[in-house]
C-alpha cells in the first residue's frame, strides 16, 4: 500500500511536457477593457457595423452581470482590467498563403508539441487552421474544400467574405446574454474558426484546429461557428496545448454549432493547456461555452472531449434537441491532477419528439485535484418519447483528491425515459494484483486500467486523436499511478 501511494505521487508528479514559450513579437494592446478597446478590435479587423454594434451590446450587458459562482471551483478573483484583449503576431498584416510562408519559429513550436504540421496535413489529409495568439496564420487545403463548397476559414476572414452568414447565425446558439463568459467573449473575441457545410455535402476531410496561447497575460477569446446545412456531415477536431507561464491566463471561448435537418456534426476536443505547477501556481483558466442547436429533424451532434490540462475547467458542451428525432451525444474524459479543478458536464435539452441523448462521462482525479460532473437533462412537455441515458464514472487516485457528481434531471413529459447511473471508486487492489501477477509493473497496470476505464470515450474519437488522447492520459498520470 505504501509503495502504491508513492508511485501514485510519482506518476501524478509528471512535469508538464509542453511548457515553453515561443519568442515572437506581438502587437499587443495594453491591459484593460472599455468601449474604446472594443472599437479598436473591431476597427483593427475591419468589421462591418452590425458586428461592432453586437460587440458593444455584449459589452454593455457584460458590465451588468457577475461571474457565476455555482460551480465547485475556487480561484483568486480575476481582474478583467489587467488582461490584454488584443494581441497578434507582427506578421499578421501579410498573412502567409501556405505553410511555407509561416514563421519557422511557429512551425518549430508545433514540432515541440509533437504535432508535425506538414506531415499531419499532407499524410492525414487534414486541413489545419492554426490559431496562434488570436490570429490565424495558416490555413491549408482550402482549395480542396472549396471544390465541395465547404467554407473553412478563420472567423475574421469569414466576417469579410461571408458577412451575411455571420449576421444570420452569430449569437443564435449562444446569445451574448447567455452567461458572463459568453458575454465577455462576444464583446472582445478576436478570432476563431468558421465552418460552413452546404446542403447535402459530406465534408471530404476531418477539420482540425490547434489553439495556442502564447503571450503572457493575454486572454484568449476564440469564437467558433459551424453551420451544417440540410443533410450535410462534418467532423471537427480541436486540440490545444500551451507554454508554461507563471501567471494565470484566462481563456473564454464560445463555440456555436448549428445542425439543420438531417445534418450531423462531430466535434472532438483534446485539451491540454498548462495546468499550473505542483503548488497550483499558474495554469489556464478555461471557461468555455459550447453549444449545438439541432434545429432540424433527424439532426445529430456528438461532442467528444478529453480534458487533461488547465488549472480550472468550466465547460458544459450542450445540445438543444429541437428537431424531432434529433440526437445528442456527449463523451468525456477529464483528468485532474495536483491542484487542478474541473467542473464539467453537459446539458441535453429535449424539445422535439423522439429526441435521444447519451452521456458518458469518465472522470479521473489524482493528487489534490477536485473534479465535478455537472449535467442537466431536461425533457420539455413537447418531447414525446424522449430518451436519455447517462453514465458517469469517477476514478480516484490518492486520498487527497475529490470526485463529485451533480446530475440534474427535469422531466415534464410522462412518455420520456431518463436513466442516470454513476459510480465512484478507486482502482481495485485485486485488479492491480492481477496485472502485476502477469508481470506488468504497477505503473503500467494503472495506465492500462485507466485507459480501459476511458475506452468508451476514446473509441468515439477519430483514430489519430484517440492515439494522442491515450498518450496524453498516460503522460498526465505518469508517475502518478500505481
Amino acid at each position: 500500500m505504501a509503495t502504491e501511494q508513492k508511485n501514485i505521487e510519482q506518476i501524478v508528479g509528471e512535469k508538464y511536457r509542453h511548457g515553453f514559450v515561443t519568442d515572437i513579437e506581438a502587437d499587443t494592446l495594453p491591459p484593460g477593457i472599455n468601449e474604446d478597446v472594443i472599437r479598436f478590435i473591431s476597427d483593427k479587423k475591419k468589421e462591418p457595423e452590425f458586428l461592432l454594434n453586437w460587440r458593444l451590446k455584449s459589452f454593455r450587458h457584460w458590465q451588468t452581470i457577475r461571474e457565476p459562482d455555482w460551480a465547485k471551483l475556487h480561484h483568486a478573483p480575476i481582474d478583467y482590467q489587467d488582461i490584454s484583449y488584443f494581441s497578434a503576431p507582427k506578421q499578421a498584416a501579410d498573412a502567409p498563403k501556405s505553410l511555407d510562408d509561416v514563421d519557422p519559429k511557429l512551425l518549430e513550436t508545433y514540432d515541440k508539441l509533437g504535432i508535425p504540421l506538414h506531415e499531419r496535413a499532407r499524410l492525414a489529409g487534414v486541413a489545419v487552421d492554426a490559431v496562434f495568439d488570436s490570429v490565424s496564420v495558416a490555413t491549408t487545403f482550402k482549395s480542396k474544400l472549396a471544390e465541395s463548397g465547404v467554407i473553412f476559414c478563420p472567423f475574421s476572414e469569414a466576417v469579410q467574405e461571408h458577412p451575411e452568414l455571420i449576421e444570420q447565425y452569430l449569437g443564435t446558439v449562444v446569445p451574448y446574454r447567455d452567461n458572463f463568459f459568453a458575454a465577455l467573449n462576444s464583446a472582445v473575441f478576436t478570432d476563431g474558426s468558421f465552418v460552413f457545410i452546404p446542403k447535402g455535402v459530406r465534408c471530404p476531410m476531418e477539420l482540425s484546429t490547434y489553439f495556442r496561447i502564447n503571450e503572457a497575460k493575454t486572454g484568449q477569446f476564440e469564437r467558433t461557428l459551424i453551420i451544417a446545412e440540410e443533410g450535410s456531415h462534418v467532423s471537427y477536431l480541436e486540440g490545444c496545448t500551451a507554454p508554461m507561464r507563471d501567471e494565470n491566463q484566462l481563456h473564454a471561448a464560445v463555440v456555436e454549432l448549428v445542425a439543420l435537418k438531417d445534418a450531423e456534426i462531430k466535434y472532438s476536443t483534446v485539451q491540454n493547456w498548462y495546468p499550473g505547477d505542483e503548488q497550483g501556481r499558474g495554469g489556464i483558466y478555461n471557461f468555455v461555452t459550447k453549444r449545438c442547436d439541432c434545429r432540424g429533424a433527424n439532426s445529430k451532434v456528438s461532442w467528444t472531449q478529453v480534458e487533461a490540462g488547465s488549472a480550472i475547467t468550466w465547460k458544459y458542451p450542450s445540445c438543444i434537441l429541437r428537431g424531432d428525432n434529433s440526437v445528442g451525444e456527449f463523451y468525456s474524459v477529464a483528468v485532474t491532477n495536483n491542484l487542478q479543478q474541473a467542473d464539467t458536464g453537459t446539458k441535453m435539452l429535449h424539445i422535439g419528439a423522439n429526441t435521444r441523448s447519451t452521456v458518458i462521462s469518465k472522470g479521473i482525479s489524482a493528487g489534490r485535484a477536485q473534479q465535478s460532473y455537472r449535467g442537466l437533462i431536461k425533457i420539455f412537455p413537447t418531447a414525446e418519447n424522449a430518451r436519455n441515458y447517462t453514465q458517469c464514472d469517477s476514478l480516484l487516485l490518492g486520498d487527497q483528491c475529490g470526485a463529485h457528481t451533480f446530475p440534474y434531471m427535469e422531466v415534464k413529459n410522462p412518455s420520456a425515459i431518463v436513466e442516470h447511473e454513476a459510480t465512484t471508486s478507486k482502482i481495485g487492489d485485486d485488479q492491480l494484483f492481477y496485472c502485476r501477477q502477469r508481470g506488468l509493473s504497477e505503473e503500467d497496470a494503472v495506465n492500462m486500467i485507466v485507459n480501459g476505464f476511458c475506452k468508451e470515450v476514446f473509441r468515439e474519437l477519430p483514430m489519430e486523436f484517440a492515439v494522442e488522447a491515450q498518450a496524453l492520459l498516460n503522460v498526465s498520470l505518469e508517475g502518478a499511478v500505481g
Binding site: W70, I379, P381, S394, L396, L397, G398, D399, Q400, C401, G402, A403, H404, T405, F406, P407, Y408, M409, E410, V411, K412, N413, P414, S415, A416, I417, V418, E419, H420, E421, A422, T423, T424, S425, K426
Partner: protein
C-alpha cells in the same frame, strides 16, 4: 432579483408578536423563550430560502410564507380547547391500528395526555414532553435542542424553532430493547393553524427502539416539524414517518440522525398528502461501521408539490448506506428528489448506494431529480442511479393478455412500484393497513390516466 427576495422575506412584526404571544399562552414552556428568540433572529437575518438557493431550486415557499403569518396569528390567539377535545373513537379512525402500547398524541400542537400512553416503568424507555420535563433538565435541553438540526444552516429549521411550544423527549437506556414502537401522532383538526412538532430522542449504547411519526391534518394548515435522534455505539433505530396532511396543507419537516460506532438505522418515509411538502432527512454516520438504510415513497397528484431531500454524511471509516426512494407523480403534481451522499476524507472503506426511480403518470406531471455524490476519500465504493419513466408498457401488456383490464393493470403496476417501499416498513403488522392506505391514494391519483400508450 428584487422579486425573488420578496418571497424570502416575511412579516417580521407579525412573527415577533406571534412568538412573544407563546410565552403567555404556553407558560409551561416559557423556558424555551430564549431558544425561540434566537431562532427568530436567525430567520429575520436570513429570510426564507428562495429558488435562488441551490437547495430550494425546485421548491418555492412563497405561498407558505405568505400564509404563515395568518396561520401563526390564529394558532397563538385561538381558544382551541374545544377543537382539541377528540373522542377516542374518532381518533381510532384516524390512527394506524395496533400501536396502542406507547402512543403520544398531539392535537393542534398540544399534547393530549388523556389520549396518550407512556412506556411502563422498567421498560428502559422514558418519555417526557418539553412542558413536563424537570426543571434541572431545561438548561441542558436548551443546548441539545437544535444541536443536530443546526438552525444556523437552515431557515426552515429556524422557523420551526421560533414557534416551538412543546415536543417529546425520548430516552432509551443503555442495553434496553424496547419492542413496542413509539407512536407519535401530530394531528391538526383546526383550519389555518401552524404547528411545530418536535422530537428529541436518545438511544444509549447498545439499545434499540422504533419510532413512528404520523402527521395528519383535516384542514389546510402548516406543519413544520423537527426530529433529532442520536444513536450511541451499537444502538439500533427503526423509524417510520407517514405524512398524510390535508391536500391544501403545507408540511415542512426535517429529521437529523447521528450514528456512533456500529450503530444502525432503518428508515421508511411515506409522503402521501399535502399541497406542498418538503422533507429533509439528514443522516450522519459519525462512528466506524455505522450503517443506514433509507427508503422513501412520495406521491404528488392534483397540483401538489412533494420535495424530498436526503443527505448522508459518511464521516467515519467502514460506514455503509443504502437508499432507495421512489416517486409517483400524477395530474399536475410535481415531485422533487435530491439525494446527496458526502464521503468525507476520513471515511475510507465506505460503501454508499442510492437509487431513485420515478413514475410519471400524466402529461402535466413533473419530476426534478438530482442524486449527488461528493467524495473526498479514495477507497470507497459509491454509486447512485436515477430513472424517470412511465409505466412499463410490457408489464401492462402482459397483464392485459391475462385478461386484466387496462385501468386495473395500471393500478397493479403502480401499486407494485410503491409496495416495494411499503414492504420495508420496520413494523410488520403495518404492511397491510399502510398498503391499503397507499392503494386508495394511488387509485385516486391515477383516476385520470395519461395518454393511451
Amino acid at each position: 432579483m428584487a422579486k425573488q427576495q420578496e418571497t424570502g422575506s416575511f412579516d417580521a412584526m407579525l412573527y415577533r408578536q406571534a412568538s412573544e404571544a407563546l410565552d403567555r399562552r404556553f407558560p409551561a414552556t416559557r423556558w424555551l423563550a430564549p431558544l425561540r428568540k434566537h431562532a427568530l433572529e436567525r430567520l429575520a437575518h436570513s429570510g426564507f430560502p428562495t429558488t435562488r438557493d441551490e437547495d430550494w431550486r425546485y421548491t418555492n415557499l412563497k405561498q407558505v410564507v405568505l400564509r404563515s403569518g395568518e396561520f401563526l396569528k390564529r394558532s397563538t390567539r385561538e381558544k382551541q380547547s374545544a377543537a382539541r377535545r377528540v373522542a377516542k373513537s374518532e381518533l381510532n379512525r384516524l390512527l394506524l391500528p395496533g400501536l396502542t402500547d406507547i402512543t403520544l398524541v398531539f392535537v393542534d400542537g398540544v399534547y393530549q395526555p388523556e389520549l396518550s400512553s407512556s412506556p411502563p416503568p422498567g421498560s428502559g424507555m422514558r418519555i417526557r414532553t418539553l412542558a413536563t420535563v424537570d426543571e434541572q433538565e431545561r438548561e441542558p435541553l436548551l443546548e441539545t435542542l437544535g444541536a443536530l438540526a443546526g438552525i444556523e444552516g437552515c431557515q426552515v429549521t429556524a422557523f420551526s424553532t421560533a414557534f416551538l411550544t412543546d415536543g417529546l423527549v425520548i430516552d432509551v437506556e443503555a442495553d434496553a430493547h424496547v419492542p413496542a414502537p413509539v407512536y407519535a401522532v401530530f394531528l391538526s383538526r383546526t383550519a389555518d393553524i401552524s404547528t411545530h412538532p418536535r422530537i428529541l430522542m436518545n438511544l444509549a449504547a447498545n439499545s434499540s427502539a422504533c419510532l413512528i411519526e404520523h402527521h395528519k391534518s383535516l384542514h389546510p394548515c402548516l406543519s413544520s416539524s423537527i426530529t433529532e435522534i442520536r444513536c450511541a455505539d451499537h444502538a439500533r433505530l427503526k423509524y417510520f414517518k407517514l405524512q398524510q396532511e390535508h391536500h391544501s396543507a403545507f408540511h415542512l419537516a426535517s429529521q437529523h440522525i447521528s450514528l456512533a460506532d456500529s450503530a444502525g438505522m432503518q428508515a421508511v418515509h411515506l409522503d402521501l398528502g399535502s399541497a406542498l411538502s418538503r422533507n429533509g432527512l439528514n443522516v450522519k454516520l459519525n462512528g466506524d461501521h455505522a450503517k443506514a438504510r433509507l427508503h422513501g415513497l412520495f406521491l404528488a397528484d392534483a397540483s401538489s408539490h412533494v420535495d424530498n431531500h436526503t443527505r448522508i454524511d459518511h464521516q467515519a471509516p467502514h460506514t455503509r448506506s443504502e437508499e432507495t426512494y421512489r416517486g409517483v407523480i400524477a395530474d399536475h403534481g410535481r415531485g422533487v428528489f435530491n439525494g446527496k451522499i458526502i464521503v468525507h476524507r476520513a471515511a475510507q472503506k465506505t460503501n454508499a448506494q442510492l437509487t431513485n426511480a420515478n413514475l410519471l403518470l400524466s402529461p402535466g406531471a413533473e419530476i426534478d431529480t438530482k442524486p449527488e455524490l461528493e467524495i473526498y476519500a479514495d477507497d470507497v465504493k459509491c454509486s447512485h442511479g436515477s430513472t424517470v419513466g412511465r409505466i412499463d408498457t410490457n408489464a401492462l401488456f402482459y397483464l392485459r393478455t391475462r385478461g386484466i383490464p387496462e385501468q386495473e393493470a395500471r393500478r397493479f403496476v403502480i401499486r407494485a412500484f410503491g409496495g416495494e417501499i411499503v414492504s420495508r416498513i420496520p413494523v410488520p403488522h403495518l404492511y397491510r393497513p399502510v398498503s391499503d392506505i397507499l392503494a386508495a391514494r394511488l387509485e385516486h391519483a391515477d383516476s385520470k390516466p395519461g395518454p393511451k400508450q
